[in-house]
Symmetry: C2
Subunit: 588 residues, 2 copies
Amino acid sequence: MILRMSSLFVRTLRDDPNDAEVPSHRLLVRAGYIRRNAPGIYTWLPLGLRVLRRIENVIREEMDAIGAQELSFPALLPREPYEATNRWTEYGDNIFRLQDRKGGDYLLGPTHEEMFTLLVKDLYSSYKDLPLSIYQIQTKYRDEARPRAGLLRGREFIMKDSYSFDVDDAGLDASYASHREAYIRIFDKLGFEYVIVRAHAGAMGGSKSEEFLAKAAVGEDTYVTCPACGFAANVEAVETPSPAPVPYDDAPDAHVEDTPDTPTIDSLVQLLNGSFPREDRPWAAEDTLKNVLMVVTQLDGTSEPLAIGVPGDREVDPKRLEATLYPAEFRPFNEEDFAKYPDLVKGYIGPGVLGEKGSSGIRFLVDPRIVEGTRWVTGANEPGRHVLDLTVGRDFTPDGTIEAAEVRAGDPCPRGDGILEAARGIEMGHIFQLGRKFADALGLQVLDENGKLVTVTMGSYGIGPSRAVAAIAEGTLDEIGLCWPRNVAPADVHIVAAGKDEAVFAAAAELAEALSQQGLDVLYDDRAGKVSPGVKFKDAELIGVPTIVTVGRGLADGTVEVRDRASGERQEVAVGEAAGHLVGIVRG
Amino acid sequence: MILRMSSLFVRTLRDDPNDAEVPSHRLLVRAGYIRRNAPGIYTWLPLGLRVLRRIENVIREEMDAIGAQELSFPALLPREPYEATNRWTEYGDNIFRLQDRKGGDYLLGPTHEEMFTLLVKDLYSSYKDLPLSIYQIQTKYRDEARPRAGLLRGREFIMKDSYSFDVDDAGLDASYASHREAYIRIFDKLGFEYVIVRAHAGAMGGSKSEEFLAKAAVGEDTYVTCPACGFAANVEAVETPSPAPVPYDDAPDAHVEDTPDTPTIDSLVQLLNGSFPREDRPWAAEDTLKNVLMVVTQLDGTSEPLAIGVPGDREVDPKRLEATLYPAEFRPFNEEDFAKYPDLVKGYIGPGVLGEKGSSGIRFLVDPRIVEGTRWVTGANEPGRHVLDLTVGRDFTPDGTIEAAEVRAGDPCPRGDGILEAARGIEMGHIFQLGRKFADALGLQVLDENGKLVTVTMGSYGIGPSRAVAAIAEGTLDEIGLCWPRNVAPADVHIVAAGKDEAVFAAAAELAEALSQQGLDVLYDDRAGKVSPGVKFKDAELIGVPTIVTVGRGLADGTVEVRDRASGERQEVAVGEAAGHLVGIVRG
C-alpha cells in the first residue's frame, strides 16, 4: 500500500500547539496524527488511525490466541444495571449522564462490568459453559476533572476490556494467568518499556490486581521496585511495613516544652536540636508526628472529620489516600471546619484531643510505622508548645492505622531487606481478580456438577489502545520527532523523493511500487514543486516511520540512502538492491 | 479459523423475542447474533460482530479504492459547530444532548458534516489540496421517536460517512460519480437486491441526491419506478406532474347542493352519482377536493395553520409532507384549533374560507394536480352541503402548490408516458451533493488558481453497516432461518458432527482443521453429549452459514454430505475430497 504525501490528508505544523503539555502530545499534533475537538476529545487523522488500528490488532491477535471471544457492547447504556451495583451514584461527576426524549436515564459507559455480567447471565446457566473469556475493543467515556496530556487522559477513549468467568477460584487463577501472559506478549510486541506492578483494586473491589505501567517521566503513576527481591508496586498499593512494638517500660515521661517560632517541621527540628539535644543521635523530622485533618464524604453525602497521623518527614499522598478511602472522597480542613472544633490548635494539634477518647472525638488513624512504644514529638494542643517523648500505647492510642503517607525511594521493601527505588509510569494495562462482587450484585449463578447454584467468579482485564498510541510515542520520541517501533508504525518505509529531476521521482515511484507489491506499507513523499528536500526530511523525521529512504543525489551513482530513524545510521544501497534490502529490514 | 460451537459464546433460542417486529430481527436474536440493551440499542455477540466487520471491510475496501482516506471523529461533540449551522436547534428531540461536569453543552453526533468541514478548513487552504475524499466508520446516535425493527432503526448505530471536497461544481460531479460507482460495487458485493432512487435531500439541503434502497416488504421507505423510462424515486422525492390548465370559459357556474349524510368521500360520491348524475362519466373520488388542516411549527417555535387541498382519492402522506416542510414540523388540527376558526365547518371545509382572501386567512396550498380550470366538488362551508363545479382560477385561487398527497402505483410517471410501480425498501445508502451549505456556514474557503478565495463544494455519502446486517438478513432469510450471502457470512462452512462415534468427531475435526489451514473460516459444531444431531441441524439452519457439511452416517461409506443452505441442494462427497470440494465452493 502506498500513501502519497501529495494527497495524504495531513499537514505538519512547525509550531507546538498551545495546549500540549507533554512531548508526545505536542508531536502527535504537529505531525498530523490527531486533532483536538474539546478537552480530552480528539479526532484521529489518517496517520493516527493507522497506528491505533495496528495496536488494536496486536491486542486482538493475542486475545484471540487465548480463546477470548470478541463482541461489542453499546456505549450508550441504560441506568438500571449501574444502579444495581451502586455505580450510577458511586461514579459521581466522573461519568457522562443524559436523558432520552422520554426522560429515561442513560450513561456513556466508563467501563462495562455490569453489561458483561448480565450478558453471561442471559446466555449461560451451567458450569459446562465455563470458563469463558469475552472482550471488546470499544469507545469509552469518563468526564475527567482534569483531562490532560492529549491521549494520555482523555474523556473519549478506546479500551480493550475483557472479562473471564469461572466456576471456582482455581479457574479464576488460571484465567488470570493466561491473560497475564497474553498481556506480556502484547506489551512486548508493542515495543515499549514497561513494568508489571501490584496495583490497588480501587473502584472494582476484588483481590489480586496488577498494572502494566509504561516507564515514562510524564506518567501520572508512581511505582516502586525492589532490586533485591523484585517486588514492584504502584505506590497506591504499597503496604507500609509495620515495625515490631518497642518496649517502653523505661521510656521517659512525656513532657511539654515551649517551642516558640516553630511553624514548620524543619524549624521545630532545629529548635529541638538546639534546646533539647539528644545523646544517641540528633533530632530529625521522622521523630515528629504530624496530624493532618480531613473531611471525608461518603457516597450517601454524609461527611465526618478524620485525623491522620504521619511521621513528620512525610506528606499525606493524595493519590494513596484516595485509593484507601475510595469510593469516599476527601478534602483538607478549612477555617470553617477548624471553627467547629475549638480544641484543635492549628499547627499544634496533638493526639490528646484526637481519637475516640480525645476531647474532639475526631477519628484518628495513623501511619503503620506509629506502633506501640514508639516515642514522638508532636503538638501539645497549646499555641507554641510541643510535647516530647509522647509514647504510643502509654500516652495515646490511635483508633487504627491508615495507608496515606507518601512512599519514597529509599523506603524499606515491604517484602524483605531491600531498599525501594521509585519511578513514574503510565498505566497501560490493568488486570485483576474481581471475584464475585458483580456476580453477586447482579445474580450471575450457574449450576455446578452437583446441580447446585454457585456464584460465578470473574476477572477483569483492560488495555487502552488510544492511550497506548501516546505512551508508545512518549517512550520512543526524540528531539526531532516521533520514532515508532516497527510493529505500530503508520508505514514500514518512508521514501523521500529529494530533487527536481524526473529521474528521481521515477526511481522513487518505482521503489515504492516494488515495496508495495511485496506487501509493505509505504509512505511516499512525492510532493513536487516548491516543497524542498529539507522540508521533506524534516517531515519524515517528525512523522517517525522507522526506515527513511532518500532517493536523490546518490541516484547518479546508482544508489539510494537508507536511514534508520531511531539510530540515525545511514547506508548507501544500490538502487537495484534497495527493495530486497528494505524488505529484509522490515521483515527482520 | 475454527469457531467451535462447544465454546462459542452463543445460545440459540427456540422462541421469538417479544419485541421483535420483523423477521430479520427475530432471527438475529434467536440465532444469537445480537441482544437488546434498551430501545434501539444492541450488543453485538461474536457471530453478529463477525458479519458487521465483514460488511465494514467491504465498504472500506471500496472507499480506499476510490482514494478516500479513513479517519475517525469523536462521537461526543461540543455544541458550537452545530450551533453555527443551526442544527443544534434544528435536530429538536432527535439528538442526544448532555452536559459535562462544568456545564458545557455536548451532543452525541448524529452525523458529522460540521466536523468534517471544520477539519478540512483547519488543514487545507489551497485548490491544490483538492479534490479530497475522507471518511469514517463510526458509531452514531439519534434519539428516534420510534426505534423499530431491531437494527433497522436504532438509536446507537454504525455509519460509514464520507465527504468530498472540491473547488468547483465539475469536481463535485466527478466525486459524486466515483462514490456512486463505489456504492454500486459495495452493494453488489454485499449480495442483496437494491435499487437506486432519487431522494429528497431533507435535512442536508443540497441538490442532487440518490438513495440506495434494499428491496424489502418491511422497509420504511416507499419508492416508485417507471418500467418505461427507468425513472426511480423515493416517494418523498416524486414531483407530481402538473397537468396543463383547462379552458373554463364554458364551464357551468358553481352551485351549492344539499348533500346530507355524506361524512366520507365514498358516501359523497355515491350521493353525487344518485342525485347529480353526469353524462360523460360517473363521479369519482378524484373529482372531489379534500381540504386538510394542519398546524405547522417552525424551528423558532412559532406556529401557523396550513390548509392542504388534495384530490379526494388521495390521503396526505405524512412522510412526504414531512420531507416538504422540513425542518418545520406539523400536526393535524385538533378541536381546540377548530374552535379558533369558527368559519371552518368540519367535514365541509371549502376554499371559500381558505387562503389569503378567504375569511379565515389560513394559508391554502394545493396538490399540483389542482390547476387552473379544473372543476371540483368540495365543502360549501355549511353543514351538509357541498359545492359542485367549483373552478380553479375563477371561483378560487390557492396560495400555491405543495407536495403532500400520496404517490401510488398506477400514477403517471413524472418523466414520460409510463405508469409508476411502487414497492417498499430499506434505505441503505444515501449520496448527495451538499454543495456549499456547510462550507458557507463554517467558512471553508481555499485559494483558487488566481489567488482568490472560493468556497469549497461538498458531497456527502453514507452507508449504515449495522443496518446492512439487518437488511441483508431480511432479504435473504427463509422460513427456517438466516441465510447469509457468502461475502458477509460469519463463517464459510458450518460442519456438523452428527453422531456419537469418536470416528465422526475425528473426521469432522480433521476436515475443520484442513479447511482452516486453507484460510477458510469454519464454524464447527463439536458439541458432544446430549446435543442431538437434530438440534445441531436446526441450529445450523438458523445460523445460516452458506454451506453446511454433515459428518455422520455417510462416514461408514466414506462420504460426508455437503448442503447449500440457500437452495437446500445436497451432495455426497468422498471424505478425502471434501476439503478441496469445499474450498472450491467457497472460493467460487
